[in-house]
Amino acid sequence: MLVERYQRRVVGVALAVVHNQDDAIELAQETFVRAYENLSKFESRSSFSTWLYRIAANLAIDFWRREGRHVVLHGEDAENEISKLPTATGDSFKEVSRSELSARLKQALEELTPEHRAVILLREVEGMSYDEISEVLQCPRGTVMSRLHYARTHLRTILKDVAGS
């Protein structure tokens, strides 16, 4: 069945944005309902799965903004944040204890904007290519690359702080 085939990844996309399992499952169910309602609008320009993930991502981002849980940086604002980050240096955070690191990493993910969190989780957890992420989040490939760079540098900086403290 169509739902069973895509449910895991649709939940994954929603989870990447909202970072809360209950909300993600609720949004994923809403995604399938919306897809059912708008099936006639589906054009074969992209694959069905990409169309489905895009609905999930849009719903999740809208949900996040509506809930007002976070100050969201958009477009240039977010990209400008990259320049404020310290340049990556070679000090590794390998020595930080795993549990401490995991806890801090979850917190650091919460601090990211949904757009940045979505990009890094879609890449690292869902294993999507840059082109897929670009289609799902409806942004240019270059934006995917810069958001990923920002998210990685940001997370690494936070984790390095944990390691240093």
Binding site: Q29, V33, T87, A88, G90, L101, L105, V125, Y130
Partner: protein
């Protein structure tokens, strides 16, 4: 190193193998000489593993049934309702046609299979006197040649010819208690 800032922008994409081949080559060349960028790359790799490990797989038990229940609760537009009702009717008519066709096919097969037995049964209950027409080569053959009908009928037991007239063959079938009169074609 001067180019580290430029290379660091590409390290993530290098880790993801999403750079153009010439850029991959450029980053690989830099990494071979730069411990700092190699450390950053290792951190990105570790970061990816950590992100995967902290992301718990949500339980999806009952997910699809919940979706179906939500879809079922959707208000249906009037045209959709009509279309569905029509489709349901067509489906039942189609099923009726299918059953009807199957019944007709069964009946035809039964008739084909039963016909020989039915003929046999009809022969058993045939009237005691048969009048048949044959085409003997000449009127004189009528008495000398054996009647064709008798050849075809295994029950015929022709005992004797009873007619003196050469244009008419008459014989009895004692077993059936039947008299057969054989007439040539009339001019």
């Amino acid at each position: 190193m001067a180019e580290c800032a430029e290379i660091s922008m590409m390290l993530g994409a290098f880790e993801d193998s999403e750079l153009e081949p010439n850029e991959m080559q450029e980053v690989a060349y830099h990494l071979a000489r730069c411990d700092s960028c190699t450390g950053v790359l290792a951190d990105y790799s570790t970061l990816g593993r950590d992100l995967r490990s902290i992301t718990a797989e949500p339980s999806l038990a009952g997910f699809s049934s919940a979706v179906i229940a939500r879809v079922d609760r959707l208000p249906m537009p009037i045209f959709t309702r009509i279309a569905r009702a029509l489709r349901r009717q067509l489906d039942s008519v189609g099923a009726g046609l299918a059953w009807g066709s199957a019944a007709v096919a069964m009946a035809v097969v039964t008739i084909i299979l039963m016909t020989p037995y039915a003929e046999k049964f009809a022969n058993h209950s045939a009237p005691p006197t048969l009048l048949a027409k044959a085409e003997p080569n000449s009127p004189s053959d009528a008495t000398t040649s054996e009647p064709t009908m008798a050849d075809n009928d295994s029950h015929a037991d022709i005992s004797r010819l009873e007619s003196e007239n050469r244009s008419v063959a008459v014989w009895s079938e004692p077993r059936r208690d039947t008299t057969v009169i054989w007439l040539p074609d009339q001019p």
